[in-house]
Amino acid sequence: MNEHDHNEDAILDRNLREIAAKLTLPVRPGAAQRESWRSGERSMQRGNDADALTNPKHHPALRSESRGGLMQTKGDRRMARFRLFTVGTAAASVAIGAFLIGNGGPQTVHAATILREFRTGTWRAVQITIKDVDVDGIRVNGEMEVGFCEPISISEIIRTAREGDLAEIPEPKFDAAYFDLSVVAGPGAEADVVGLNLAVRGGVTAIDTPWVYLRAESFPDEIMNEHPEVRLILQMFSRGIMLDQIPIEGDITEALRDMSFDFGDDDEAAAPAAADNASAQLQVSARVGADGAQAAAEIANAKAELAGVQAEIQREIRIEMDRAKIEAEVNAAADPPTAEDDAKQEAMQKMLLDLLSGEATPEQLDEIAEMIQAEAGHVSVSQRDDGTYVLIARDIDKEDEMMKNAVVEIAYRQGEGVESLRVVGFGPANGEILIRFSDLPAARAVSVRQEMIDGGVQRASVQELMKMAEGMMKQAETK
């Protein structure tokens, strides 16, 4: 303990002694009161004993063991949120294909059962592990966890995502989300990100402010060469730093509902370019806690401005005090997507979502069957020694660079439902994506943060980080 800590501790000790007589804490409960909390214990115990001790579904570690190698946690657990929709729809395509191209017999029965459970099963948390997924030269490893306050079904998640209007969700059930990513941009990546080597973790719960931990091994070569002073900031990030208590007004679900976007409210920001093949800088500010109606109007306005322009957020994200500022480069498209392309993509997504959410009509099924039969060349269902059924689909889409070598496995246990969905051989690095479903609450948004704090991680608020970075830049300028 250094002298400063000692002094602060002595002050707190003194203040606690002084305030103790003035502050009334909730009274300690009595014995009868304590007893009343567990009044339903006997019936609960009778009902749960057999299930709790024999059903491995109640604990992730036991669940992993029960499933054999397929579900084993991968050594250094890292995770990414990455092209999830693409992967999800690809996997869904395969699953649907397996269902539709089955030609009778027990295999078809199993496939149908597995897919029905996949659609209707409910979970408390979804855990996604990504290993060596390589897209456009950027290698991503990591994991993500999303939890819900109450059990939720995949149909419900998809319906929510499809509605796209968060304000319309009556009672969001989001509980917590956590991610832990490693992102490395290799020589094959876009020139302006080559050399980036970043580890980022973060978490948010329905009732906590978000936190993010950043550790950078290196920034993109282009930035390092053009702005050597950035090396000082890299030094700060190379040791790892946690940005804590990122300001969010109200709870996170309220904040999501009230998110608004301000376009071009900065003198430095240019208006978005018209669709004239030029490039322009666009600054987008996402402010949380603003008026919902105003936000909706601003988003509608922004969409109108960007109509016909292919926008890519590819520059940087800055966080300033109470707002996240995203600097994006908008490239007016040389070949903007045609209305036909848009309609085709939209129709495909709609069909998949209809099918997964159980809303597809028989006519749509015929149409989907026609489209999907070409996507999965080989489908099989087998039973493992542990009783798990595994649906495996290969030769999914030979034309698709990401999926041409991919194999999709869906593991299903009778009486419990779909336990996991795994894609191996994904992308040029033969990456792997594993999606697991859990009945336990998602806890890592809180537990990992606490572990890092207990481990002595350097912490700073967004404001403190900004000040540190500013100080370093000034220091570099004066040299």
């Binding site: 303990m1 602060e8 501790d9 002050i11 707190l12 000790d13 003194r14 203040n15 606690l16 002694r17 002084e18 305030i19 103790a20 003035k22 502050l23 804490l25 909730p26 300690r28 409960p29 009161q33 304590r34 009343s36 909390w37 567990r38 009044s39 339903g40 214990e41 609960m44 115990q45 749960n48 004993d49 709790a52 001790l53 109640h58 604990h59 570690a61 036991l62 992993s64 063991e65 084993q72 946690t73 306050c149 009672e171 509980d175 719960t205 329905a206 009732i207 906590d208 402010t209 804590d244 208590q245 009945d439 336990l440 609450p441 806890a443 809180v446 537990s447 704090i453």
Partner: protein
């Protein structure tokens, strides 16, 4: 992967619930304010949830599991109520003035008039009841129930020096909690 053998989940859960029960009840009561009678209802719900879902959670993780479940229950309670029963309490504990006083509380020997401020009381109440069970009980026994180092040492079977060390750690955690408002 090494899997721990199944333990007697019920015994572990009962033990942890008995150990952390007071702290969890205090957590609810401090946040429910005038609606404190609901704290017992929430404790019953917490036990029901734990009985359904926590008998296979390793003993070392049970306190954490219970705290997470308690937070979720409280959030659900507030959603159902449509408004926080503790609006005034939270407003008092979450305002700029509360933040200023909290900062001063951990860094300056406060004069008597500031120690009387309701904003400070509410912030301190929320901060203490959010601490883990061991640290929370230690601070309450020592500062609010007047137990000496020696009495605590005897009660929990450790040396007085160890009690001092644990109190130091508990104050360090409290200092951190005071500077960030949490529900």
């Amino acid at each position: 992967m090494v899997i721990d053998p199944p333990t007697d989940g019920w015994a572990d859960l009962r033990r942890e619930f008995a150990r952390s029960g007071d702290a969890l009840h205090r957590y609810f009561a401090a946040r429910l304010g005038a609606d404190a009678s609901s704290a017992d209802d929430l404790m019953q719900q917490l036990w029901m949830q734990a009985a359904r879902g926590a008998t296979q959670v390793p003993a070392a993780e049970l306190e954490f599991w219970l705290r997470r479940a308690a937070r979720n229950l409280l959030a659900t309670h507030w959603r159902k109520q449509r408004t926080r029963a503790t609006t005034e309490l939270n407003a008092a504990a979450n305002g700029d003035e509360a933040t200023r006083l909290a900062q001063r509380f951990i860094s300056t020997a406060l004069p008597a008039d500031e120690l009387e401020r309701i904003e400070l009381h509410e912030r301190l109440k929320l901060a203490i009841t959010a601490l883990p069970t061991a640290e929370q009980e230690l601070l309450i026994r020592h500062y609010f129930e007047g137990a000496s180092h020696a009495a605590i040492a005897e009660a929990i079977g450790i040396s007085e020096r160890a009690v001092e060390g644990r109190l130091y750690r508990a104050r360090a955690l409290l200092r951190e909690r005071m500077t960030r408002y949490e529900t």
